[in-house]
Subunit: 416 residues, 2 copies
C-alpha cells in the first residue's frame, strides 16, 4: 500500500513556481507512515494528466493531486479525472452557494466559470476549502483506489489536508504507525569521512541510518517506524548515543539545531556573553547569531570592521600590526577579538578576517583564506581556515561564520 | 522532441528537502525553448529508478537527472542507469585524480567510497563538477536519447548546467530560438498596486509582461522568443522604458540587481562611503551590503548594537534618550546613525532598530515595528516602518535591512 503525489500546473513546468506543495505533502505522508515512492509533475493538459494517472494508479492506492481546481479554463483536473474513470460530473448546489457566499464576502460576484467548480464526479465527496473558492474531493472511483484533490494554493491545500484529509486517512486505517526521524548534524568532518566512520550502522533496519550533506555540513538521518514518539525514541536513542560516541565533538546537534543555537545554549547555561568583530563576513556572523530568538540574552553585538580604518577606530587594532602582518592575519584576528571584548566587556568574543573574493587574493593569501580570533577569560587564540575558492564569495563568507561559531563551541565544550 | 526531469533522492520523498533543482531546470528548459511535459521524483531505489527511466525514455529524448551521484552507498544513479541500458561501468582515473585534488585542497583525504564516483557507463562523457567531488555525465545510451546527470547539491548542479550542459544542448541544435526574459524589480509598491498601474501591458504578446512577487518585493517579467540577445533587447527595451516611466522610483533595478548592489553603484558613482549601525538586524544589513563583490570600495563597516550597552559604548547613544524614548524609537535610530557616521567619517550612515520578535512586543510597540535612521552631509532623518508580525522574525529582519537600503537609494536618486 502506498500513495503518490501528482502536482498539476504548467507554471511548475515553466519553473515559475517552486513546488512547495510536494514537499509539504511528502513530509505529511512520512509522518503518517504512508509509503510514498513517486512524485509526478504534469501540466494543465488533459491527455498528459490522464497518462500520469494511468501510470500512478497501477503503482499506488492513494493518489493525491494538487492544482487545476480553479475557475479558469485551464483548470481541468476534476473533469479530466471524471473522464479517465468514465463517470459523469454531478452538480453540487451547496458548493455553488458556498462559493457565492465567499465571493460576496470579498465584494465579488459569481462568475460564469465559477459554476464549473461546483461539479464533482459521481460518487465523490466534497473536500471543503475553508479559505478559497475551489473545493477538493475525496473519491473512490474503484475499490482499493482513493483520489484526493487539492487546489494549488499552498495555504488552502495545507488547511484542507490537515482539517479533512488527515482525519479521513486515519479513520480509514492509514497512518497508524508513523515514521519518526532524527537528523544529526556535524561540523568539521566531510560526508565521506563521516560515512566511513559509521559505515556499520548503515546496515541497521530500525532505525535506518542514512548520510546526506548540505550547506557545508554533513548529516545523518535516523528513521524508524513506530506507533508513538516514545517508542521511536527508545529505538533511536541508543543508535544516536553510539554515533555521538564515535564522532565526538564533530556532532554539534540534531534536528533544528544550528551552530548558533547550540553556542547560544552553551553560553546561556554558563551565564556568559559574546561579542563579534567581523571583517570579511561583513555582519554575517552577527546575523547568524541573532537568527536565534532570545539571542539578546547572551549576544551584545560588536563591530563590522570591513575597512581597516574601522579596525583601528572601533577596535584599536594597531596600524603597525596591520602594516606588518596585513589585515588577513592571525595577529589582526587576535587584536580584533581582544579589542571588541575589552570595549564591550563580554565573556567571549569572536573575530573573522579573510579574503572572500572574487578579487583580493594573492599567492601567499589566496581567496578563501580566513583567520578566526577567539578571545576569552584566559586570553586569545587564532585559527587559520581555508575554504574552497571555487564555491564563491557567499559560500566562503557563510562557512567562515560557521567556523567561528564552531571554534567557540569546541572551546566551551572542552572548558574545564 | 522534449525533455524530462527526474530528481532522485529519498530526502525528497520524505519532504526534508525542497525540490528547487526541478524549478531551476524547468525555468532553464523554458528559456532554451526545450519542451518539458513531465517531472518525476523517485527515491534512492534502483528498481523504482529503473521503472521511472523506462517510462520517461518512451516519452522524451532528453532525460535530466539530479541526485544520487555522491560517494555514499545510497548514491546509486550512475550504476542504476548503466545497468538499465546494460552497459558496463568504466573507471576514469582523471576523475579520481580531480576528486583527490579537491579533497586535499580542503585538507581531506580520498575515502574508499569516493572511488566509485570515478566510474561512468561505457561511452558516457564526463560532465565536470567545478565545485564538488561528484562529476555528472552526458550519455547517449542509444540513438536519439541523451541523459544528463547532476548532483543534488543545487550550487553544483547550477554551475554544471550553465558551464557544460547548456553549451552542449545548444551545440546539438536545441534551444535555437530561445526565450529571453528580463525581470524588473520593485520596492515600496505592492504586487496588486503595481499590476493595476501597468495593467494595459499585460495584453502585449511580444514581449509578454507578467507580474509576480517574492521575498517581499514585486516583480515584472518581460519575456520574448528571439533568435539572439540583441533581437530580444530590441523588443524588450521600449516596454521596459514605458514601465520605468509609469513606476518611477519604485522600480529599483532588473535581473540580478539587489537593493544593495544598486545602492553600491550609486555610491561608487559619487565616490561616497557608507557605514551602518544595526540593532534588530544584528548584522544582516552589513551582510546584505557586503554580499556585493567590491563593496569594500564604499562600505566601511559599522556597529552591531544589539544590546543597549553597545549603543552607548560604541555609538554614543545617550542613556537619557534610551530611557525616555526606548531603544525602538526614531530618536535612538537617529543617534545611532549620527554616532556611527561621526565615528567612522563616512558620507552616509544607516541605522536600524526594531522589534523582530517573537518576544519583546507591546501594544504601543508591537512586533514588526522598526525605525530606520539615515544620516548624511545635510543632517539626519528617521523613518518608521511596520512589517507583518505573522511572517515571523527572519522576514521582519530581512525586510528591515531592505527598507534601510531603499531609504538611502531614494535619497541618493533625489539628491540635488
Amino acid at each position: 500500500m502506498s500513495a503518490e503525489i501528482i502536482c498539476v500546473g504548467t507554471e511548475l513546468l515553466l519553473g515559475e513556481v517552486l513546488n512547495s506543495n510536494a514537499q509539504f505533502l511528502a513530509g505529511q505522508l512520512a509522518e503518517l507512515g504512508i509509503p510514498h515512492y513517486y512524485q509526478t509533475v504534469v501540466g494543465d493538459n488533459p491527455t498528459r494528466l490522464q497518462q500520469a494517472v494511468a501510470i500512478a494508479c497501477n503503482r499506488a492506492q492513494i493518489l493525491i493531486f494538487t492544482g487545476g481546481l480553479g475557475p479558469t479554463p485551464d483548470d481541468l483536473t476534476t473533469e479530466t479525472l471524471a473522464e479517465f474513470f468514465d463517470l459523469p460530473l454531478v452538480e453540487h448546489p451547496e458548493v455553488l452557494a458556498d462559493i457565492q457566499r465567499k465571493l460576496a464576502h470579498r465584494g465579488g460576484t459569481l462568475a460564469a466559470n465559477n459554476r464549473k467548480q461546483a461539479f464533482l464526479p459521481k460518487g465523490a465527496a466534497i473536500l471543503p476549502n475553508p479559505i478559497g473558492s475551489a473545493p477538493g474531493m475525496i473519491w473512490q472511483p474503484r475499490p482499493g483506489l482513493t483520489l484526493l484533490t487539492f487546489p494549488g494554493v499552498p495555504s488552502e491545500m495545507k488547511q484542507m489536508w490537515q482539517q479533512t484529509a488527515v482525519p479521513y486517512l486515519r479513520s480509514h486505517g492509514w497512518g497508524e504507525a508513523s515514521i519518526y526521524s532524527r537528523v544529526l548534524r556535524f561540523w568539521g568532518i566531510a560526508e565521506s569521512e563521516l560515512a566511513e566512520k559509521v559505515a556499520p550502522l548503515f546496515d541497521l533496519t530500525s532505525p535506518t541510518v542514512a548520510p546526506y550533506a548540505g550547506n557545508g555540513e554533513a548529516r545523518l538521518r535516523l528513521s524508524v517506524k513506530a506507533k508513538s514518539e516514545p517508542e521511536a525514541d527508545a529505538l533511536i536513542q541508543p543508535v544516536e548515543r553510539e554515533i555521538r560516541q564515535i564522532t565526538g565533538l564533530d556532532c554539534y546537534g540534531g534536528d533544528d539545531d544550528s551552530l548558533a543555537s547550540v553556542v547560544g545554549q552553551l553560553l546561556q547555561a554558563r551565564h556568559q556573553t559574546l561579542s563579534v568583530a567581523e571583517s570579511c563576513t561583513g555582519g554575517g556572523l552577527g546575523e547568524m547569531i541573532t537568527q536565534v530568538p532570545g539571542s539578546s540574552g547572551y549576544f551584545w553585538g560588536g563591530a563590522i570592521a570591513y575597512d581597516n580604518r574601522v579596525k583601528t577606530a572601533l577596535l584599536g587594532v594597531e596600524p603597525e600590526v596591520l602594516a606588518q602582518h596585513g589585515a588577513v592575519s592571525g595577529a589582526v584576528a587576535e587584536q580584533m577579538a581582544t579589542g571588541v571584548r575589552s570595549r564591550l566587556g563580554t565573556t567571549w568574543s569572536l573575530s573573522v578576517t579573510g579574503i572572500a573574493g572574487p578579487e583580493g587574493g594573492s599567492p601567499e593569501k589566496p581567496v578563501g583564506l580566513v583567520y578566526i580570533g577567539l578571545a576569552g577569560p584566559d586570553g586569545v587564540i587564532s585559527h587559520q581556515a581555508r575554504f574552497s575558492a571555487i564555491r564563491g564569495r557567499a559560500w566562503i563568507r557563510r562557512l567562515s561564520a560557521c567556523a567561528a561559531l564552531d571554534c567557540l563551541r569546541r572551546r566551551l565544550l572542552t572548558d574545564g
